[in-house]
Amino acid sequence: MLAVAYQRYRRSRLRRLWLLLTLLPLLAALILFSGLVGDNPDLFWRQLQINDALPHLIVWQIRMPRLLGALLAGGGLGLAGLVLQVVLKNPLAAPTTLGIAQGAAFGAALAITLAGRAEEDLNTLTGFLVALGGHANLIAGSAFVFSLLTTLVIVFLGRLRRAGPETIILAGVALSSLFLAGTTFLQYFADDTRLAMIVHWTFGDLSRGSWPELIRLALVIVPAALYFFSCRFSYNALAAGDEVAFSLGVNVTRLRLISMLAAALVTAMIVAFFGILGFVGLVAPHMSRRLVGADNSLLLPLSMVMGSLVLLGADLFGSLVLDPVALPAGVVTAFLGTPVFLLLLFGGDRG
C-alpha cells in the first residue's frame, strides 16, 4: 500500500539519477577517445600505455585534465547554484545572478594587474604575496576574497527584514555590473598581455586546467559537496519556513551563512581557474528539480551530475560547432543558457 507506493516512487526517482550518472562516463569516453582510435583499436590501446606516444599525450595531458575540469567545475557550479537557491529561497539565485562569479572575475583581474606590476618590485605587498604563493595562488586568492565580499553583502542584505527575493536578485544585478565596470576599468589601463589575460578570464575556458589546479579544485569541491549533502534534511526543512525549520532543530542563521560561504568558495575556485562559466549554476538545479522534485537528498547529487553534463556538453558543442575553431565553454553556456532558462521559466507544465 502506502509503503509500497512510496518505495516505488523513490525508486523511480533514483533511477533517473542513475540514468544520468551513466551518461557521464559515456560522454567522457566520447570526449577522451574521439578521433583517436582510428581503424586499429588494439594499436590505440597499446599506444595509450606508452609514455611518449601521441595518443597517450593527447589523452592524459590534454583531454583528461579538460574532462576532469568540466566534471569538477560543472558539478561545483551545479551544487553552488542549488544551495544558493535553497538557502535564499530564490529560484533565480546562482553564482552569476548574485554577482559572486563577477566578483571573483574582478578579483582575478585585479590580481593580474597588480601582480604584473609587482614583479619588478618585491617590496610591495603584492610583490611579497607573489613571492610567497606564486601567481596562480594570488589570482585564486584574490578571486576568492572578492566573491566572499559579494557573498557577505548578499548575506547582509538577506538579513534585512525588507529584503524580499526580488530585492536580493536586483542587488546581485547591481553588484555584477559594479564588478563588470571595475573589470572594464582595469582592462582600460592594462597593457596588451594583461588585457588578454583579463579578457580571457571573463569567459570560462576549460582548456586552462592543469593537474595541480584540478587537485586543488577537488580539494575544495569534494568537502563542500560532502558538507552540502550532510545538510540535505536541513535544506528540506528550510522549505517549510524559517520558523518551522528552527523548531525542527535547524540553526537557520548558521546554516545559511556557512552554506553561502561554501558556495562562494567553490565558485571562486572555479572562476579563478577557468573564468566565468555562466548559467550552469542556474540551469542545472532547475533541470534536476524537474526530474526528481524538491527533495534535496536526491536533488543535491543530481544537480552536481547535471552541472557536469551541461558543462561537458557545452564544451563538446563549442569544439564542434565552429570547427576548426574551438569556442570556449563559457561562451557556449552563456549562449545556450539563456534560451534554456527561458524555456524552464515559461515552458509548459511542471513535470
Binding site: 502506502l2 519556513g241 525542527l248 522534485g293
Partner: protein, 249 residues
C-alpha cells in the same frame, strides 16, 4: 509541563509582553486570545525558543527553555504556523521533516513508519505523493499538523493555524487538534481569532491585552465584560439550546 515565569519581552524601544505568568498542562487545549499586534505571535516565538526573553523565562519541566540546545527543543516542541510556504516537496517528504530532530545520517524504516502512521491517522494517505504546492489550504494545514505530530512532541504550538481556512476546514482542524491533544496528552497552545471556535474547543483561556493577561482560566473567564474589554467592542456571550456558548458582537 511548561510555565511562564514572570516573562517579559521587548523589541527595541517597544515593550511587547511584561510579567506574564502562566501554567500549561498536558492533555489540555490552551487558547491565547487577543487583538491584532497584541503579541500573540511573539508569545509563541518565546515558547518555541526562537526569541529570547528580556526578563523572566519560560520553564520546560525544570529547565529554562531558551538555554536548551535547538536540537533538544525540537524533540519536545512542535510548531504549526498560519501559512505554509509552497514547495514542490511531496507530502511524505514534508512529513519526514518531522523526523529531523531524531535523524542520524539517513532516514530509517522506523522514521518512515511514524510518518505512515500519522498519514493514516489523519486520513492523508491519498495525498501522500502529491507535491505540497498542489494542495488546498485545508489540506496544507492538515499536513502541517501531521508534520508536527510526526515530531512526537510533548508540546504543540499553533500560531493561528486555522485562520486561513473556511468554516468546515476550521472545524475539522480543531477536531484533530483536540483529539490529538487528548490522545497524546499534549500541552497544546493555540492562538485564535475566532471566538466561537475558541469557546467550542478551548479548555483554558488567556486573554492578552496591553502586554499582560487581562484574565486567564477556564470558560468562566469568557464573560461579556472581559471579552468586550479585550477586543474593545461590545460582545455578548450566549448559551444556545444545546448548552454551547457562542458570541455576538
Amino acid at each position: 509541563m511548561i510555565r511562564l515565569d514572570n516573562l517579559s519581552f521587548a523589541y527595541p524601544q517597544q515593550p511587547v509582553l511584561s510579567g506574564l505568568t502562566a501554567v500549561f498542562t498536558p492533555g489540555r487545549l490552551h487558547v491565547v486570545l487577543g487583538g491584532n499586534g497584541v503579541g500573540k505571535t511573539t508569545l509563541i516565538g518565546l515558547l518555541a525558543g526562537r526569541l529570547k526573553p528580556a526578563r523572566g523565562c519560560v520553564r520546560l519541566s525544570e529547565n529554562i527553555l531558551h538555554t536548551l540546545p535547538v536540537e533538544i527543543l525540537a524533540r519536545r516542541l512542535a510548531l504549526v504556523t498560519q501559512r505554509q510556504p509552497l514547495t514542490e516537496l511531496t507530502v511524505i517528504d514534508y512529513l519526514l521533516l518531522g523526523r529531523k530532530p531524531y535523524l542520524g545520517w539517513r532516514v530509517g524504516a522506523a522514521d518512515r513508519e511514524v510518518v505512515f502512521m500519522v498519514l493514516r491517522e489523519l486520513a492523508l494517505e491519498p495525498l501522500a505523493l502529491r507535491p505540497l504546492s498542489r494542495l488546498s489550504g485545508g489540506e496544507l494545514q492538515k499536513c502541517a499538523i501531521a508534520r508536527a505530530l510526526v515530531q512526537q512532541p510533548k508540546i504543540l504550538l499553533l500560531d493561528e493555524a486555522t485562520s486561513n481556512l473556511d468554516l468546515k476546514n476550521q472545524l475539522a482542524m480543531m477536531d484533530i487538534i483536540r483529539r490529538e491533544t487528548r490522545e497524546r496528552s499534549l500541552v497544546t497552545i493555540i492562538t485564535l481569532h475566532d471566538l466561537n471556535l475558541a469557546l467550542r474547543f478551548g479548555d483554558h483561556f488567556f486573554l492578552l491585552k496591553d502586554q499582560r493577561f487581562l484574565a486567564q482560566g477556564d470558560r468562566s473567564v469568557l464573560t461579556d465584560d472581559n471579552l468586550s474589554r479585550l477586543y474593545e467592542v461590545n460582545i455578548r456571550v450566549f448559551k444556545d439550546v444545546e448548552g454551547n456558548l457562542s458570541v455576538v458582537v
